[in-house]
Amino acid sequence: MNPARGTSHRVCQAGELPPGKRKIVAIHDREIGVFNLGGRYYALRNRCPHRGAPLCEGKLIDLVTAERPYAPANEREGEILRCPWHGWEFDITTGRSVCLPDKVRAKSYPAGVEKAPETATVEHYDVTEDDGWVVVWLSAGEGAPR
């Protein structure tokens, strides 16, 4: 348990989640989608705050903006998750929605790679020194068995 980040939960080996890919895992009573964006890891709960859709199954798209009418421009390639149902867009890096960033957010969790196995109780895999585990940190109380 890291008091700053909470309890780490292993998702997969780092090699199994290359840049641009995602993995949806169940941690206790909830599903969490873990995304690798260019070597950085982000995790969002697999539930859209709008209608409860499996948010993390949506398409990864760019952030489309326009300085003026009729001049669309693409930014932040592949960093926006578009909900598979009603199309609400979420910033993967923060969980904030694009339409109402201060009011509508998907639950996000810190994620990253832990180099060394934390406990000896997990099933053993061949893990090299450079590989490690993709983990999601849940704070105390989050995702605890009920």
Partner: protein, 391 residues
């Protein structure tokens, strides 16, 4: 009794006893709690020309000969029907059935301005739909110029309470802008009048020269139904032509919804952040539902029109004002309060009478329907905030 109460006398005489017994604050719904009368702006009043010869001084020899030979175009009323008597209040034909009350300035002064306590009445020509539908653009523009000049000479100059919404050839935005530049700085000109029936939706950039001119001269863009399904315009509904006037009366909100969607998603208010649009004779019961739907559409589809940077409801709140007429007879009556709350009616509604049309709403009756705290905004302030040049 204030003098302007006479507008209700015809219909309310039998209620005299009830009025005397009422709470003093309710006796004069056009006054504030201190008893000071609110200025009343009527944003939708329809005047007409009786004798086409009055236009001749304002036309070139060529256009004058054409008008003499063929006459003024008639409104393309595909229903061959309306309400009241020939679309007007039947009590306004005291000079006989053949005298169109829309042509009688003294009737407007007596029954509307004096009779109802109207301080400013914005004239939106009865002639506009027919003239604006002409497909000969240069003749259309010539008649628009002549009718604007005629309105200034024969109505505006004869009563300081009148203001004018300009008639322009909407089908040719360059010509329309030219007319706006010609008269836009006249102190009594406060808006540009367009009808909902149109080959294209008004948010499309084709129309940008008109909005640029409106903003430059401080004019509101005033949109009013008419011409749907006539001339070169598409059917009044995308699902087809209704058969009866009652149907088209009922479905009018969709005309405004189509143009409002267009304004929002084309980014008109991003391009023209000072533009104000008046929706006249739009009614308003549909507005809360439209706001919710528009916001839902934007949240889902934002990336397809990324220049729409705010919630549609925010653009509506800032740029669009809706006329009270035809006032919603909510059932139950108390539902009106929720409706006004949902659309922030105290800020977004403007009074309109539609005089002398058959579905006229008098200001005192409308004020009585409104919560007292909203009356001044609806009768006075919101109009002054929407028409930048209105004084």
């Amino acid at each position: 009794m204030p003098a302007y109460r006479s507008c209700r006398r015809d219909g309310m005489r039998h209620m005299g006893k009830v009025m005397k017994m009422a709470d003093p604050a309710l006796v004069d719904p056009l006054a504030n709690p201190a008893g000071v009368k609110t200025r009343v702006v009527d944003t939708d009043v329809h005047h007409q020309i009786r004798d086409q010869a009055e236009l001749y001084p304002f036309l070139s020899r060529n256009d004058r000969q054409r008008l003499k030979e063929y006459g003024l175009p008639k409104n393309g009323n595909i229903y061959h029907g309306s309400g009241g008597f020939r679309g007007a209040r039947a009590d306004c034909f005291d000079l006989g059935e053949e005298v169109d009350p829309r042509t009688r300035i003294e009737l407007f002064q007596k029954k509307l301005l004096d009779g109802c306590g109207i301080d400013r009445a914005i004239l939106q020509g009865e002639y506009t739909p027919a003239v604006a539908a002409l497909v000969d653009l240069d003749y259309c523009a010539a008649l628009c110029r002549a009718l604007n000049d005629w309105s200034l000479a024969h109505w505006i100059d004869r009563d300081p309470r009148f203001r004018l919404a300009l008639t322009v050839p909407m089908q040719d935005p360059v010509l329309a802008a030219k007319e706006i530049h010609r008269l836009g700085d006249h102190p009594a000109v406060v808006a540009v009048y367009a009808v909902c029936g149109s080959p294209r939706l008004y948010g499309q950039r084709y129309y940008d020269p008109i909005y640029a001119a409106c903003v430059e001269h401080g004019l509101a863009f005033a949109l009013h139904f008419s011409n749907e399904g006539s001339g070169v315009n598409p059917a009044p509904t995308a699902a087809g032509h209704p058969s009866y006037y009652a149907e088209t009366y009922l479905i009018r909100p969709q005309f405004y919804q189509a143009h409002l969607s267009s304004f929002i998603f084309e980014g008109t208010f991003e391009k023209f952040p000072k533009l104000k649009v008046a929706f006249l004779e739009s009614g308003f019961g549909w507005v809360p539902s439209f706001r919710w739907r528009a916001d839902a559409a934007w949240k889902a589809l934002r990336a397809q029109t990324p220049w729409v940077k705010r919630l549609p409801s925010e653009y509506i709140a800032e740029h669009i004002r809706f006329s009270t007429q035809p006032f919603e007879d909510t059932d139950p009556p108390g539902a009106l309060v929720h409706l006004l709350e949902e659309m922030d009616g105290g800020r977004t509604l403007m009074f309109a009478s539609d005089f002398p049309h058959w579905d006229f709403d008098p200001p005192d009756a409308i004020a009585r329907r409104l919560p007292a705290a909203l009356r001044k905004g609806v009768l006075e302030d919101n109009a002054f905030g929407t028409y930048p040049k209105l004084t």
